[in-house]
């Protein structure tokens, strides 16, 4: 989008003496200026003929500006709106899950069904898994929760979260019968809140 650039300084011609050939304004000079103006104007975007104040301007496929019909106010998302959309009533602040994973730890190697901000899962040993964060935390002061699907009435399972590190956290699933038996759950879920 080139701006208009004047090719001829017409004002300086007024200072020239009569008879000086440069004092003449020629048709070529005038035509050059019109060509410059034409070139400039053809590369500029047209102003929208009618628009609503506060609406968002968008581009057409041809590169022209148009009124989108959407107000900038429509995309302004305040905290109260966010809490309402999340059904988070009350004045308590919101905190987010910063990492999560759903993994089948009963396989060797484990199978990650889904995850967020998790780069990998390490099967440390039978019953023990390490969740490695894609983007590590500044400190290991987050809150990690874990659950599993290994349940039966006669012999429940306990899952523990341990070894909190900025870059990883570990889980272990054991028997609740006071034994040291370790188990690999089909569904191991971990969420990290910060």
């Amino acid at each position: 989008m080139a701006n208009y650039t004047k090719s001829t300084n017409f004002a300086v011609k007024d200072t020239l003496t009569t008879g000086d050939p440069q004092k003449i304004v020629s048709g070529v000079e005038i035509d050059t200026e019109f060509v410059n103006i034409s070139s400039m104007s053809s590369t500029k975007v047209d102003k929208v003929g009618g628009a609503t104040a506060g609406n968002i301007a968008t581009l057409t496929a041809g590169g022209s500006v148009q009124d989108s019909g959407d107000s900038i106010a429509d995309i302004t998302y305040d905290t109260d709106s966010l809490k309402t959309d999340l059904n988070a009533t009350g004045s308590q602040p919101l905190y987010a899950v910063r990492a999560w994973v759903n993994v089948n730890a009963n396989e060797v190697p484990p199978v990650i069904r889904g995850s967020g901000n998790v780069s990998s899962v390490t099967r440390v040993s039978n019953g023990r898994s390490q969740i490695n964060f894609e983007t590590v935390f500044d400190e290991a002061d987050y809150s990690a929760n874990a659950s599993h699907d290994r349940t039966d009435v006669s012999n429940g399972r306990i899952i523990s979260v341990y070894d909190y590190q900025p870059e990883s956290v570990k889980t272990v699933v054991t028997s609740d019968a006071g034994t040291s038996s370790l188990f690999d759950p089909f569904f191991l879920s971990v969420q990290v809140v910060r």
Binding site: S119, T122, V124, N126, N132, E134
Partner: protein
């Protein structure tokens, strides 16, 4: 099958590291980051893992490692 990362842990047992499918990093980048610092690792096809208990595995006669934990 998929590539996994194996390395020997401080206690002598072998760990198996599985990259998250949606992680944008390469397997090497993940291994560099998630394998303990200074520990050699190997990237192997998961189908090549032994069927015995993981606790019984030993990494012997291995080729040159694919990298070292950073």
């Amino acid at each position: 099958m998929s590539n996994v990362v194996i390395y020997t842990q401080e206690n002598g047992t072998v760990a198996v590291l599985v990259p998250a499918p949606n992680c944008p990093l390469t397997v090497n980048e993940i291994a560099d980051k998630d394998v303990p610092t200074g520990v050699s690792y190997w990237i192997v096809d998961s189908a090549e893992l032994p069927e015995e208990d993981q606790e019984s595995w030993e990494l012997v006669n291995m080729p040159a490692p694919d990298g070292v934990g950073q």
